[in-house]
């Protein structure tokens, strides 16, 4: 084998697998077709590559039993997490093979449930504030008439404080009507005394 043939052989070793895989350009493939016909060494190498592979493949009859295979498949599927199963379920609902309307209903239900859960979780009131409000409301609801009277009394006192009657009221413990009544009563009594005196003349 001369130097040129050696170089050709080395190049062929690198390209023979691409030649077999049909990965070479048409031009390159034609080149090797021609060279393989010309050179026995190249044919031998190509045959070695094919023969070893073919002989090896003729004995590939290793297999798994059906039962073992079934068990393995089951185990692989069972290994799936709950979250992934849930995702697959929802992905499946929107596939073309399922009724789309069912998917819509399921999705709407899911949204409603999610909204309820979110509202329950997010709007939870402060328990201390709630207790304070309850006590105040309870106090008002227990005796509102009493509170109302108290307010009216305070209003009267404020009004009385503005005029002089208040002084009299505080001094004598009487309001103007009572004073007038008492004066009338005294007047009446004086009139009766006068009548009584006139009838009993000396």
């Amino acid at each position: 084998m001369n130097q040129e043939e050696k170089q050709l052989y080395k190049t062929f070793e690198k390209e023979v697998w691409l030649y077999l895989d049909n990965e070479l350009s048409e031009k390159r493939r034609a080149f090797w077709d021609h060279k393989i016909n010309e050179h026995q060494e190249l044919r031998n190498y190509l045959n070695d590559c094919l023969d070893i592979g073919n002989t090896y493949r003729s004995n590939i009859n290793i297999s798994l039993s059906e039962d073992t295979y079934d068990l393995m498949i089951e185990k692989a599927i069972a290994n799936n997490s709950f979250l992934e199963k849930l995702k697959s379920f929802f992905a499946g609902l929107f596939s073309s093979e399922y009724e789309f309307i069912f998917g819509k209903i399921a999705f709407a239900s899911f949204l409603i449930v999610a909204a309820i859960i979110i509202s329950i979780v997010s709007n939870r009131p402060n328990p201390v504030e709630q207790l304070t409000n309850t006590i105040n409301n309870q106090l008002l609801e227990w005796n509102p008439i009493y509170v109302d009277k108290k307010i009216s009394k305070v209003e009267n006192l404020l009004r009385l404080a503005k005029d002089d009657d208040y002084k009299r009221y505080t001094k004598y413990g009487l309001n103007p009507e009572n004073v007038d009544k008492n004066i009338n009563l005294i007047g009446n009594n004086i009139d009766e005394l006068k009548k009584d005196i006139n009838s009993k003349k000396l």
């Binding site: 691409l18 090896y56 297999s63 798994l64 073992t68 185990k75 692989a76 799936n80």
Partner: protein, 186 residues
């Protein structure tokens, strides 16, 4: 049913579709693992682990890629990890299965062919890890060299070089072991 349809069904959690999908490659993949590990027991573990990874990883599968190539990439990685663990633990060193299948009363041609197969198997065991992986992926996975390069994450030229040396070694071993027989016949 087409492969892509089966994959879509698998993505919706259809276990039967998954069984059908893998069934097309079951012998090839399991054979690769058995030959790679030389242990049926270990090959079964590898196969199981591969099934779990494939089932979980199907959502990441790119439909542009050939499924067999993707499957063998996962299978090869599982096998590599397992072999690495084995080397570390040295647990399975004694559990090596024998692939000899001599049966009595067979014709001479058949016996010679089986002897050739036995010799090739022995030679394959003597290859380096990378050479063995490339050779077995080619034979069991029926992958092109471009696909093998992607599977084992090596440049195309390196993969071809591994194959070249693997063939060279196997051929040499066959010649060496066939020589005494040839001499005996003469």
């Amino acid at each position: 049913m087409q492969e892509n349809q089966l994959i879509d069904k698998c993505l919706r959690g259809d276990g039967i579709a998954f069984k059908q999908l893998i069934n097309n490659y079951r012998s090839q993949l399991f054979g690769y693992m058995w030959r790679y590990s030389n242990s049926r027991f270990e090959a079964e573990e590898m196969f199981q682990e591969t099934l779990i990874k494939v089932w979980k990883g199907l959502k990441k599968y790119n439909h542009q890629q050939k499924f067999s190539s993707w499957l063998f990439t996962i299978g090869h990685n599982v096998a590599m990890d397992s072999i690495r663990r084995r080397k570390k633990d040295n647990l399975f060193s004694s559990i090596v299965d024998n692939f000899e299948m001599h049966a009595p009363n067979k014709p001479d041609e058949e016996i010679i062919r089986e002897e050739q197969i036995r010799l090739i198997n022995e030679s394959v065991d003597g290859l380096s890890e990378k050479q063995k992986a490339v050779f077995l992926l080619r034979q069991h996975g029926d992958l092109t060299f471009k696909e093998i390069a992607e599977t084992i994450n090596e440049p195309l030229n390196t993969v071809i070089s591994h194959m070249h040396y693997a063939i060279k070694k196997i051929k040499k071993q066959l010649e060496v072991k066939n020589e005494p027989r040839r001499k005996a016949i003469i």
